[in-house]
């Protein structure tokens, strides 16, 4: 008996999947449970496990092909078996009938007298559905062929129909309010940001520590440089440059935070490759200042300005977006007092730089005001404990308070 393997449907919105790898080739013997191929949605990869014993008689797609869901991927059966009834031509006519909401059965002309046997019956029984689910679908008027089966052996169960009905309700609700918003397909960069953020939040144990430091020293230093700049040809040093410089020095003593966690391994970086989060008209971009620990403040300042300008104008070299070991993100210029940055996965740490606020403190019985700059460190608790991360912040705070170039 031949079995035609269809590209499984993974989720309501998925219309096609990438066939990423064949584990078997034409002619290979296949046992039930063998992984035949891997396929990917834009979110994740799945293995297709053979549901029957046999030989991989034919394959219809190559690695790297995008395959519409429910399209035929390959045929498993006994050697030399005729599987012509599942040829592409038949399949395409089936596809027509599937897209036709009114037609419940495949076109009858496909079943000639010769092929009217058990095999053709199997082909027609592509959709497994429980009696309960079928009854509900009929009653509710939904087309169960669009349901995502979650039952055993790929069977559609009642809950699958219920989730279809719920989605249909949501959709019809939004349709009613159609005039109240503009519907725009999200851009690629937005998709990438969205996926990376969700991936970061769902795969790490991240949390944020907040502190602040006395910014008197760095502000004084910046003022001094600004005055010099007017006479000599120095770069205008920003507070952010000073922050990158300070982090690149301090972090060298905290290898746990200058690291990547990938599955059950940790990569400790020997240099501080500092990613800087840059707000651009298209969205967030994070280029890297490689080996910042070996660069002078003026070199860092020059490189940061170049990267920011390239990002803003969209001329950034994609290679500079890779290789970061730690990231700095600055919302201080927008008046943010503290926030919870999301890790740039697989990095272990990201430092949020907050705005400067005037605070009061007591020293030797006297009260004085000072400029306090906030720091928000998000770290991956799988790699670093709270005390370790706090010690890094403490060291950074000390270094910044004593900063003199």
């Amino acid at each position: 008996m031949t079995i035609t393997v269809l590209m499984p449907r993974q989720g309501e919105s998925v219309e096609s999947c990438l066939l990423s790898k064949w584990y078997k080739k034409k002619g290979d013997i296949i046992k039930t449970g063998d992984i035949v191929f891997t396929y990917e949605t834009d979110k994740s990869a799945f293995d297709y496990e053979a549901a029957t014993d046999g030989i991989l008689i034919d394959t219809f797609f190559e690695e790297g092909d995008t395959v519409p869901v429910l399209d035929e991927v390959c045929v498993i059966g006994d050697e030399g078996e005729d599987y012509s009834h599942s040829s592409k031509i038949t399949r395409e006519s089936d596809m027509v009938s599937i897209s036709d909401v009114g037609a419940l059965k495949p076109p009858m002309q496909n079943i000639s007298d010769e092929t009217k046997n058990e095999d053709s019956a199997d082909i027609n029984e592509k959709i497994k559905i429980s009696p309960r689910a079928r009854a509900l679908a009929d009653k509710s008027g939904v087309d169960y062929r669009n349901a995502v089966p979650t039952g055993r052996d790929g069977r559609i169960e009642e809950k699958d129909i219920i989730s279809m009905i719920e989605k249909a309700c949501v959709n019809s609700d939004t349709v009613k309010m159609n005039n109240d918003y503009d519907e725009v397909e999200i851009t690629n960069i937005r998709k990438i940001i969205a996926n990376r953020m969700m991936h970061s939040l769902s795969t790490s144990a991240q949390l944020t520590l907040n502190t602040s430091f006395d910014a008197t020293s760095i502000m004084a230093f910046r003022k001094k440089m600004k005055e010099k700049n007017e006479n000599l040809n120095f770069e205008n040093i920003t507070l952010n440059d000073i922050m990158i410089y300070a982090v690149s020095r301090t972090i060298m003593s905290f290898k746990d935070l200058n690291a990547h966690m990938i599955e059950d391994r940790i990569l400790y970086y020997k240099n501080a490759n500092i990613g800087i989060a840059i707000d651009t008209p298209k969205g967030l971009i994070v280029p890297t200042i490689v080996k910042a620990n070996e660069k002078s403040l003026s070199e860092i300042s020059k490189e940061a300005k170049k990267l920011i300008s390239e990002c803003q104008t969209g001329r950034i070299n994609p290679d500079t977006l890779k290789g970061g070991s730690f990231t700095i993100t600055n919302l201080g210029s927008l008046g943010i007092e503290s926030f919870t940055p999301i890790l740039n996965s697989p990095q272990v740490g990201i430092l949020g730089v907050d705005t400067i606020m005037t605070r009061a403190r007591e020293t030797d019985g006297k009260y004085e005001f000072y400029p306090a700059m906030g720091l928000s460190l998000t770290f991956d608790h799988r790699v670093v404990d709270g005390a370790g991360a706090a010690r890094f912040l403490q060291a950074l705070k000390n270094d910044l308070e004593k900063f003199n170039g």
């Binding site: 429980s130 009696p131 309960r132 039952g151 055993r152 169960e157 009642e158």
Partner: protein
Amino acid sequence: MSILTYREAIRLALQEEMRHDDTVFAIGEDLGAFGGAMAVTKGLFEEFGPKRLVDTPISESAIVGAALGAALTGLKPVAEIMFIDFVGVCMDQIVNQIAKVKYMLGGQVEVPVVIRTQGGAGKGYAAQHSQSLEAWFCHVPGIKVVMPATPRDARGLLKSAIRDRNPVLFIEHKNLYNEKGEVPDEEELIPIGKADIKRSGTDLTIIAHSRQVLNALNAAEILFNEKNIQCEVIDLRTISPLDEETIFNSVKKTGRIITVEEGYENHGIGAEIITRLVTRHFDYLDAEPVRLAFPNCPVPFNKRLEESILPDTNKIIEAIKSLI
């Protein structure tokens, strides 16, 4: 409420009914002065004497035949067959006489006989003393089959059986006699033909009777704790006539059913329940019905072999995991 064992609860029912109605008497092997092979009637002889606790020779046909005769003369006999496995000896008395006499005589007589017996495996008693043969009697019209799982049900159902004007086969379980449970102090008659939802749930219906009810409840608790699967456990209590309404309503809610029994799987109670469900309420089902029962082979003497095939908590859990 008092805490009684299953054995004490049955004894209490007998005692109460013998006090309540002096036409009630027990008849069987060694149930008088000795107190019964399972010690169920212990102490009753002292209160009611040899006329109400009639010891017989080892002849099941004689026990059941005498009970039938007594019933026809207006008494209410409670006959005891020591092991249900021995019932083959008196099958004609039960199936052709007790179950048929009222029908054959055009309804002119009543046969208010209770036959008490016990079945079930799990004690290493081997193939001739461990069977669950309830299905044999469910196949025959004219006799009710009752199988309590708890002390409370045992007491309430035996009292109803004794008061019933028709023949009732009351099957106890040899592994339940020492199980304890609450029994109301006041009189309680539990209706024959009514199943009991022993645990409510929404994900799956477990139908069980006799000792398997306890295993089903254990399995339901474990599945809830480990997997948050909410099983509804229905104790049939009466196997014939079946309480279809309770079963159907439960599956209407859950969409899934597993039947558990100690009797042989072939042509068993599970087969009957599932057939009725599928033929009448096919649309309720969200997954294939599953039955867990004793495989079609004699009960092994070897304890490990017996355990390996007797339905138990783990086997119920495994079967349910494969279904959800």
